[in-house]
Structure formats: structure tokens, C-alpha cells
Symmetry: C2
Subunit: 194 residues, 2 copies
DNA sequence: CCGCGCTTGAACACTCATGTTCAGAACTAT
DNA sequence: ATAGTTCTGAACATGAGTGTTCAAGCGCGG
């Protein structure tokens, strides 16, 4: 479902983006030489793949958005309507949280991006990512899974922030990955539930 | 209660830090010239106040931590013990959330700081900031205000992330400042309550 | 075997942030 | 008014990151 479908080489762009995400998230001011070194690639090669620094940041942002969109899609958020059962809605929510927690570094990167410098195509994708989630929340409210008086954007924001918090605790060694999803889900469902 | 007590001039360091926080949070890579311009101050003056960029970042981090410590202190977190009533605990929590929400940019700044580059004195202050909160949460658990099976660090993390989320919604224009505290409190208390 | 593509390290010029110095302006207190 | 302090703009040297070019190395298929 990813936008980019390039052929795979020994050090393919996807891997480079993966590592670039880690490096640039940990240290937003890292030089391209640092990124190339971390990816085990020559600086020239990095420039061949991504002509400018901004191109790399842009590709990284789009890739991060792709992953979020994939996670949303795979959880089954798009398949809900008025007839979807409460149990099914909760199952989707579980898959959603489970898929989003590992995306912590990517969410971190997206949040760190200065909004002014972000280009239009990127700016336009953020609402596209939130909209299906808010629709899903609206359905969950109709099914009495989520408190109906809460604004959907607040519920989605709560979901994001709790998920990010869970990833942060995992990264700092406090939280075992296996316990992250149930803990996050419990806090979210009680916090935004009836 | 702040560590620093300098004399006040027309463009005192506190104001500079205030504006530097905004600028550097919005754009972490902003140049010192940008900061100086935003503060309405010559670049030379900025260099007189903070000899190096790192000195500015360090002062900013310490100032941010000061504000957080002040907010915690003023909310009355330190005065609790086993005899504190549930109502009083909840009142403290309310003051805490209310005081922390405006600190959003500062929390953002502290989180963006690459952990490796942070010096020791700064590193040591973070646990000093969390410890009283966790103690407070432990008391709230004994008073049946917070679910006793949740780890205090998770509860504190939830409090932080919801507060940050509230500030984010205010900044993006979704949420009216007056409604931020009750909304955050409600979500938190239900999420981490019994 | 040979050519083709990709990678790589080195070298280069260029830009920009940084830190420093200095002399003049503005402001304050005596 | 005057001396002392601070602020300010300008200029400069320095260093680091960036983008470019090029020649050499390597793998792979024809």
C-alpha cells in the first residue's frame, strides 16, 4: 500500500529511510554524513538517492505518513459503518494501538518537523490521516464504546498521545512491549469511554 | 522560587528566554540571529547574555525545568500525606493540570532536546521533577482516587501526555483555553481512576 | 571477457551559523 | 553635565554542513 515501489538493492532506500528516521529523530540536527554513516552507506550514495537534505526529510515524512496510513488501513478502520458491532470496533481499536505503538519514532519525527517548512503535499496528507480515525471514533460513539459528548478530535488526540507515551516508556525501559497495548487500551477506553 | 534572580533591564534575560523558547520550539534549527531578531535584540547582546548557543539552550532548559518545578510546588503537590482528603487531592490535581497546560512549549522544548547532548546537571533534575509527582500519585492511589494497580510512572506519563495534547489542541485552535483543564482532567481521572 | 550500472572516497567550492572584536550610540545614575 | 554601563551594528575569521564533480572499485549480466 506504500506509495513508493522501488526495486530492492543491497542498501535500498527503504532501509536508509528507516535508519535516517532513527538518527534524525534522536538528533534533529544530525549531518547527512552522520546519516550516511549510520546507514552504512557513502555520503555520495545518499546524495544520489536524495539530492538534497530537504528531499530526504520530505521522503522521510511521506514514508512516515505511509506507515501510519498502512497501520490505519490494516486495522480495518475503513470498513466500519452503523452495523459494526461493539466487539468488532474494540478489536479494530486494539489492532490500531498495537500497530501504532512501534511507529513512535515516526510520529516523533513528524511532530518535530517545523510546520512552516512543510510543503503543501505533506500538509494536505495530515487531515487525510486523521479523518478516517475521526469517522471511526464517531461510529464508536454511536455504538456506545466512546463517550458521545467528547469531540472526536479530542478522542483521536488522546489516542495519539497515549500511544506515544507508551512508546516513550518502552524506549526508556520502563514498559515491556507486551504490556504496552493492553495498558494503553485500558487507559484510553476508560478515559474516553462511557 | 526560580534559581536565577537577575536584575531586570529593558530586555531582561527572562523575556529573551521566553521568546527563545517559542522560536526554538517552533523551529529547533533556528539561528541565533533569528532568536535575537524575534526578541527584538541585537545578536551581540544575545551573545553577551549567553556566550554560546549551548549556553542558551542550557539556560532555556533550566528555566523550563524551573517553571515545571514551580507549577508542581504551587499546586501543593508536596503537602500531601496519608491524611489528605480525596477532595483536596483532586483540587491539587486540578491546579496541577491548569498550571501545566501553558507550559506546553516548554515541555515540547525539553522533549526535543537530544538526550545525549544534555549535561549532567540537567539530566539529574528530571527525576527530581517526576519523583514528587509519583509520590503524589501514590497517595492518590491510597485515597482511591487513582487505580492502585497502575504503575505511578504510567499515571504520570498519562498526565503529561494528556496535558501536552490539550496544549496542542489549544495551539491549533481546536480547543478553547477555558475548556482545556476540565476536558483534560475528566479524561485523565476516568482513564486512570477506579 | 567486457561493458554497464551502482557505489565509493576524495577533493573542491560554496553557503551559512557561530563566535569575536570594536567603535559608536543610548541610557542611567551621580 | 559627565562618567560608567549597556546595547547595537558592522566587520571579520573560523568551522561545519552541503552540494558537486570525478576517477577508481565492485558486482553482475550479456
Amino acid at each position: 500500500m506504500s506509495v513508493q515501489a522501488r526495486r530492492v538493492t543491497s542498501s535500498d532506500p527503504v532501509t536508509i529511510l528507516e535508519i535516517a528516521a532513527e538518527v534524525l529523530t534522536a538528533q534533529p540536527g544530525a549531518s547527512l554524513a552522520d546519516v550516511a554513516a549510520a546507514a552504512g552507506v557513502g555520503r555520495t550514495t545518499l546524495h544520489n538517492r536524495f539530492p538534497t537534505r530537504e528531499a530526504l526529510l520530505l521522503a522521510l515524512a511521506h514514508d512516515s505518513l505511509d506507515r501510519c496510513a498502512d497501520a490505519t488501513m490494516n486495522a480495518g478502520v475503513h470498513g466500519v459503518d452503523e452495523t459494526t458491532s461493539r466487539a468488532e470496533l474494540q478489536a479494530i481499536l486494539t489492532r490500531l494501538v498495537h500497530a501504532y505503538i512501534p511507529l513512535g519514532p515516526r510520529l516523533d519525527f513528524l511532530l518535530q518537523q517545523p510546520r512552516a517548512a512543510v510543503d503543501e503535499t505533506l500538509q494536505a496528507r495530515i487531515p487525510e490521516l486523521d479523518a478516517p480515525l475521526e469517522r471511526f471514533i464517531a461510529h464508536a460513539q454511536q455504538a456506545d464504546l466512546i463517550a458521545p459528548d467528547l469531540p472526536p478530535w479530542w478522542v483521536v488526540g488522546t489516542l495519539y498521545s497515549l500511544t506515544y507515551s507508551a512508546w516513550d516508556h518502552i524506549a526508556s525501559g520502563n514498559l515491556a512491549p507486551r504490556e504496552a497495548t493492553p495498558l494503553t487500551l485500558r487507559t484510553f477506553l476508560k478515559g474516553c469511554g462511557l
